[in-house]
């Protein structure tokens, strides 16, 4: 499957990645390459390893890489800490964004943004300059300024939490964003706001991996590639029509691929 995007170097290369937690193998040889400007969707049953893949790329300390490599912009990042991966441009949008009581959202966003800016050799922003920047980014996800004075995600509705994730993505300007079930728990309007936000933030230089169960997000953001995962492996890769077929036939249909594999 060739695309003109592949004329440049890949942003992310996952090569034959196997990983475990508590000696339990979760990923069993996943390979995935994302080039600038590409949108990939990963689909699969609950428990097939989609979220684990995203957490391992982001550097979750509970998982051990038992085989394979993760390369970001050509560099092996297997041993990088989560914060180093984030600072260098990897963003993970959480399926269940974590509440941090007592930590103001505004301060949290400012510290995060400055960590990324420092890596990019950009000037760190003081509270006033940051307020200006965040005001502009709030527009993208149509969030009220009042959210900034609350504790991180505390008391936010499901939709507000997801919008807060996209706001963070907008501020951090990552090279690659992995969005884990960003569409779950969203009503139709919120889904459109989030999808539109993602489209505004992404560009020809960035890559996106959407982890989802449903076609409805892919109606809003058309992926270049769709991967189907099962039991810790990518069992089929296709273009956007693969998601449509999956929606029509269900995951039982993919069981045949496993048998063939």
């Amino acid at each position: 499957m060739q695309s003109k995007m592949k004329e440049s170097d890949p942003i992310l290369e996952v090569e034959n990645l196997s990983a475990s937690t508590d000696n339990l193998p979760i990923l069993k040889g996943v390979s995935l390459t994302v080039y600038p400007g590409e949108i990939h969707a990963i689909m699969g049953r609950n428990g097939c390893g989609k979220s684990t893949l995203s957490k391992i790329i982001a550097g979750h300390p509970s998982y051990n890489i038992t085989n394979g490599d993760i390369k970001f912009l050509g560099e092996n990042i297997n041993s990088l800490e989560p914060e180093e991966r984030s600072q260098s441009g990897i963003f993970l949008g959480f399926q269940y964004p974590i509440e941090i009581p007592g930590v103001s959202n505004l301060e949290f966003l400012r510290v995060s943004t400055n960590a990324r800016r420092k890596f990019l050799n950009k000037e760190e922003l003081d509270t006033f300059d940051f307020e200006e920047l965040v005001k502009e980014k709030l527009e993208i996800v149509k969030m009220d300024h009042a959210f900034l004075s609350r504790s991180v995600n505390q008391g936010f509705s499901g939709g507000e939490k997801k919008r807060n994730e996209i706001l963070q993505m907008a501020l951090l300007e990552p090279k690659i964003a992995i969005l884990d079930e960003t569409d779950s728990g969203l009503d139709i309007d919120a889904l459109r706001i989030v999808a539109s936000g993602i489209k505004k933030i992404s560009n020809a230089e960035t890559g996106i991996i959407l982890i989802t169960h449903y076609q409805r997000l892919l109606d809003e953001i058309e992926p270049n590639y769709v991967h189907v995962m099962s039991d810790g492996q990518i069992i089929k890769t296709g273009e956007s029509d693969l998601a449509l077929e999956l929606e029509k036939k269900g995951y039982e249909w993919t069981d045949n691929f496993i048998k063939e594999t």
Binding site: E83, R85, S86, I98, G102, V111, A115, F119, L172
Partner: protein, 405 residues
């Protein structure tokens, strides 16, 4: 030499007062608390004995501690420093209690003391003549915040006693600071009486230096329609014990407590609370937090007593604890004694470590593990610190704690 002999033979105590004699007499039969009693069973015996080892000293050495700058609107008092107060302003007055009144009040209190439960107070009153006792009555309105300091000098066991009467319809912000110097022991006993419709926002901040010890006892009586809010913080003591006893004498009063203790190295800090409702419609909302690191030991024991007269009491007691090391120890025991049948009471305890998912979330946003831990601790501390009536500009307790931890 036992503590009783030490007090009796101490040359710095010129003449024993009537109160001292009564208390010494009470202590004579059992000079130390019963180590098997509920209130003392977890207390580190060797640390308690170290606390009592220092020479008894009634005469204060010059206090060489730098306090935060005082604002003009705050009344600042240092117990033991020939401390006297008599203020009569347009809207309020603060009057020193006469010695007769103090003696009468203390004798009434002693008559209700239990040997184990009030051992810290008995010791305090045995050690202390009138020099290190401050007692005053507050009345009126628009009263400025009051800051009261107690300290112990190095290589000494010092006792300080504070008695405050708050008259009807009176509101105050009161910050009490207990400071321990190197190798020192401080015994602090505080008695607060809140009359009808009065209200106190009371902060108790206690912090020591190297090998400081503290016995801190707080006795509060609330009359009806009074409100007592306590925010407390104890850290950096080799051994510290904070005893809180609150009695809503007629019910129909409100009590809010947010307290925290932080232990490191091999320190032991404990908080004991006893809240009694002696009438209907009482309210209590209490949270105690402990944070234990290294090989330290933090203890919380709380009891809420709701007799039959205390119908429609609404009381909640929660103990939240953070264990930062595999070698640290936390003991917590929130408990309820309920006889009344129409009440709403709940209690609970949690012990956890720093939340790994929260840490991971912050790290995926580029925040280093150290910074993420600090942010998490800061949020843990914030709930308590924001409840202490302290001017943030002058007392940056959060910074102090984050730099310590």
């Amino acid at each position: 030499m036992g503590i009783i002999e030490k007090i009796k033979t101490n040359k710095s105590i010129d003449n024993q007062t009537e109160i001292q004699k009564i208390c010494l007499n009470k202590l004579q039969s059992s000079p130390l608390p019963n180590p098997k009693s509920e209130q003392w069973r977890l207390s580190n015996k060797s640390k308690l004995s170290t606390l009592l080892d220092y020479s008894v000293n009634e005469k204060d050495l010059k206090l060489d501690i730098t306090y935060p700058k005082n604002s003009q609107s705050t009344i600042r008092l240092v117990i033991g420093d020939n401390c006297q107060i008599n203020l009569v302003e347009e809207n309020y007055s603060i009057n020193q209690l006469s010695e007769d009144k103090l003696v009468k009040y203390i004798k009434e209190q002693i008559s209700c003391f239990d040997q184990n439960e009030n051992w810290s107070d008995l010791l305090n009153l045995s050690l202390n003549s009138t020099k290190n006792t401050l007692g005053f009555k507050v009345s009126g309105s628009e009263i400025p915040p009051i800051e009261i300091f107690s300290h112990a000098s190095s290589n000494s066991l010092n006792a300080k006693t504070l008695i405050i009467f708050l008259e009807k319809n009176c509101d105050i912000d009161l910050l009490q600071v207990n400071l321990g110097k190197d190798n020192s022991s401080l015994s602090q006993s505080t008695f607060l009486c809140l009359e009808e419709n009065s209200s106190v926002n009371h902060g108790v901040v206690s912090y020591g230096e190297n090998k400081s010890n503290l016995l801190n006892s707080l006795n509060v009586i609330q009359q009806k329609n009074s409100e007592y809010n306590l925010g407390s913080l104890h850290f950096k003591f080799n051994y510290a014990r904070f005893e809180i006893r609150i009695k809503q004498s007629e019910g129909n009063a409100r009590t809010n407590i947010k307290s925290m203790q932080i232990t490191k190295k091999d320190e032991q800090i404990s908080t004991y609370t006893k809240i009694e409702f002696n009438g209907p419609n009482g309210f209590l909302d209490q949270i105690n937090k402990s944070l234990a690191d290294d090989k330290s030991h933090a203890i919380f024991e709380g009891s809420i007593i709701v007799p039959k007269v205390a119908q429609r009491t609404d009381a909640s007691q929660l103990s939240r604890n953070l264990l930062l090391s595999n070698f640290a120890q936390i003991d917590t025991k929130p408990q309820l004694e309920i006889i009344a049948d129409d009440v709403k009471c709940k209690h609970g305890a949690t012990i956890s470590q720093l939340n790994e998912e929260e840490l991971f979330y912050m790290r995926t946003r580029g925040i280093t593990l150290t910074e993420a831990s600090k942010l998490q601790l800061s949020s843990y501390f914030q709930e308590i610190i924001s409840f202490i009536p302290v001017s943030k500009d002058r007392w940056d307790l959060l910074d102090k704690l984050l730099n310590e931890n």
